[in-house]
Symmetry: C2
Subunit: 349 residues, 2 copies
């Protein structure tokens, strides 16, 4: 109008579609600039009248509180953007079964979604899925575990190295020179090996670079039999017996609650730190049996993941390639806020 053309032409200019005389195009763009025009997202999506389907593939969330929270975040995001025509379709696979991962992935691919979000739990299989997505032009967001040099839209998750550093820092509060701390991996196999190595590196680096006044020994232990209380108890007691200078244990995942039961009756002064605000951990935190929990914000992981796809697919905005989640230090005194946060944030709609 202002540029002496019809809405149709303006539309063509703004969407780079159809044929427009270069001279006219320039004139329109100039007017658009001058008027500071911004497309009305509401009217736009309303008229577009189509939905963008995004698949979210997560480990079965029945058992696992951690993934349950990630899914909560996904649902939160879904609600926030549902009016903009983004629908989220959830899929689940077995955390311990690569085959299940592949099957679910195939199901998703068959449906040809417009976007995909998943944690690359199994390296090989994840590589395959990434390739499949690329072949089909499906943008993908990977969460929780990073795959270096992937062509994913972005990675959202924790900074393993830094969480190790932080864990070290937390244990160091109560450690005096000459004492020792234990970094304990309660994990089966090498599933998240890289992951754990990074944590260990961060953990060691902290003590290496902060040795001004303290000399702290680091004991690193792996133990797979954590599901058998008896075995675990024996292991823990041995650990304590072996080193009288031990002043703290840093469990590298959410299984920290499992070792608390083993310490019953010890009334030890061991400092205990671990990960994730799952109910059992919180219970022990309240009871002063766990000193610190590091909250990896699994909920934010799901939330930001979906939001990133939304920005890319709907808003057509650029998204940051790597988005590390905050590492919250949770103690008894501030735990409640982090629990509330998850409920209070349902944004829009």
């Amino acid at each position: 109008m202002k540029a002496g053309v019809s809405t149709g032409t303006v539309d063509r200019v703004l969407h780079n579609r159809g044929k427009v005389a270069p001279e006219v195009k320039e004139r329109v763009l100039k007017v658009v600039e001058e008027l500071g025009y911004e497309r009305n997202l509401l009217a736009s999506t309303l008229a577009y009248n189509r939905t963008t389907r995004v698949a979210v593939m997560l480990p079965n969330t029945e058992k696992d509180m951690y993934w349950r929270q990630t899914q909560d975040g996904v649902e939160r995001a879904q609600k926030a953007v549902q009016h903009y025509g983004l629908v989220v379709e959830p899929f689940f696979f077995d955390y311990f079964d690569p085959q299940s991962f592949l099957q679910t992935a195939q199901t998703i691919l068959d449906q040809k979604p417009d976007g995909l979000l998943f944690p690359p739990i199994f390296f090989q299989e994840a590589q395959w899925l990434l390739a499949q997505c690329s072949a089909n032009g499906i943008p993908k967001v990977i969460v929780n575990t990073n795959i270096a040099d992937s062509d994913a839209l972005c990675y959202i998750g924790q900074d393993s190295y830094q969480s190790g550093v932080l864990g070290a820092r937390l244990l160091s509060f109560g450690a005096n020179s000459g004492q020792s701390v234990c970094l304990l991996n309660l994990e089966i196999g090498t599933q998240a090996a890289q992951h754990l190595l990074e944590k260990e590196r961060g953990f060691r680096d902290y003590f290496a670079h902060n040795n001004g006044n303290k000399k702290i020994d680091i004991i690193r232990k792996d133990f797979e039999g954590f599901n058998d209380p008896i075995q675990l108890k024996a292991f823990i007691h041995q650990l304590i017996a072996d080193d009288s200078r031990l002043c703290g244990i840093f469990v590298t995942n959410s299984r920290v609650h499992k070792i608390i039961d083993c310490l019953e009756g010890f009334h030890s002064k061991l400092k205990i730190a671990g990960f994730d605000l799952i109910p059992t951990n919180l219970e022990y935190l309240q009871a002063n049996k766990i000193n610190f929990l590091i909250n990896q914000n699994p909920s934010e992981q799901g939330f930001l993941g979906v939001m990133s796809l939304f920005r890319h697919l709907i808003l057509k905005q650029a998204v940051e390639k790597t988005q590390f989640l905050p590492l919250d230090i949770v103690v008894k005194e501030n735990a409640e806020y982090y629990l509330k946060k998850q409920a209070a944030f349902e944004l829009i709609g």
Copy 2:
């Protein structure tokens, strides 16, 4: 249609407007229920074609990083909901001048906004403003400082008591039995008196209830001359000289950085804790001169405040009366995440 009526009638039912036969109304509601109908927010606001104006009244943000961050949160929220026809109109007053508060308030009232957000810095004046709003039917959100029994839509801010508890907990890490800690108020007059009293109560309660093994003395100090480095230095040195058992200082606001300069050359082992991620504090945190900062999420305060008005005015949803913000424990090792968070969260649009 489904209920044998026209869209007009359905509209009347859903908006409780106009005359509808009770019998028809019931039938429509039943069908709506059955079909799980949800109003399309986009189409709704598009057709509504009006903007809802919300006034936000904050202290002048030029000098004060804390309020600057609150305003950032406000702007973030504004962007998130701009498409839904909510416009935010910012107003500023002088933090130290009640008269300015009143003037600005009057300006806002003259404009008859649809909602108002402000921190009740001055009790009397805030009471007046609250009353004025009520008289004009303007819903209001109060942030930062609570006013008990107000008829505000909601309060969003910190839990002063709990932040005192947390501060005590942080200092207690490095405290041994027989030592003492100082709670230091660097504040002029009694502006936020209640506020500070609550913090002190929390601080003391922590040590009172956690005296199982440690006996810690608490020294509480107020000092108003914090803007004169020489005065402050003298004060701090006196403080240290007076009590050789002193092992930590908890500054009850963001002015914690001011005492760091005074400790130069002391190479003391004092643990220092304070509030807020403002640049100077962060600098000292990185340099290991401040041990802990408590992040009160001023940004979230502004964000949630506007979002609450949005929910009330646009979505017509209920909002929680009291929304406490998380108290983040920030140490050198996790500081960067909290800074990033503020930038990365621009939600929609």
